[in-house]
Symmetry: C2
Subunit: 152 residues, 2 copies
Amino acid sequence: MDELPGSLGTSASLALRFGQTIFSTASLLFMCLDIQFYSYTAFCYLVTVMGLVVPWGMTLVIADAYSVFVKCLPRQPRILLIIILGDLALSYLSLAAACSTASTTNLLLDSDESYCPGKLCTRYQLSAAMAFLSWFLSLGSALFNLWLLPSL
Amino acid sequence: MDELPGSLGTSASLALRFGQTIFSTASLLFMCLDIQFYSYTAFCYLVTVMGLVVPWGMTLVIADAYSVFVKCLPRQPRILLIIILGDLALSYLSLAAACSTASTTNLLLDSDESYCPGKLCTRYQLSAAMAFLSWFLSLGSALFNLWLLPSL
């Protein structure tokens, strides 16, 4: 089997997963820490989705790190299919969350200043940007693995 | 070649494309007709994306209808790949537009009543719902065609 860069068990995949975990954790922290995020539906949704993406990314970081540094894990089509489907579903969910957060923040910025005390809206924007980056990396992983699937 | 229902040139695909065109046109009309939609960024984005989805869907409705009723068109992997990529890109864009519109409408409903004179917010909600349905059908088409691709 040829080693397609970016597919499961390669160092490029480890980098993609690592970035995904970092960005989704950053998005979660920007949104959660010391903010009453539950007053807007879109922000609750972002927190829920990122709470799903973080453990998913962490699990796959561990699997990739084991495969790169210790011993190459065997690739089974069934497991690869589950990972592709999970990646695609999570990428759609995180895109939806990022867009909702971005448009809500945009509306809050346009309206009265009182909705954005201090630097609050900047934090919302950063959180949405991190969610977009996480979506992009997750889509990349899904496409690389999808490319590998027919050869198994 | 076996006839996979839902792939390019079958009657199921014609139905999917037809629904996609109907829903995206409905979303566009609900948003555009007699409303000043350009005061919110999310609504402008929805109109832009739906303005891309409608001609794409119409073109493929015509191709499918020709293939079903007149003469079966030959399937080329290159053209199928372009259609799959276009479908995936448009489905991501329309999901993003639908989510932005839905969250903006939700925020407008939660805030002051003066932002939603008459039944305006109901129309925004209907437009977002139509965009979600259009996204779902477009994703379905993309997945069916993606399933067919390795067999060509």
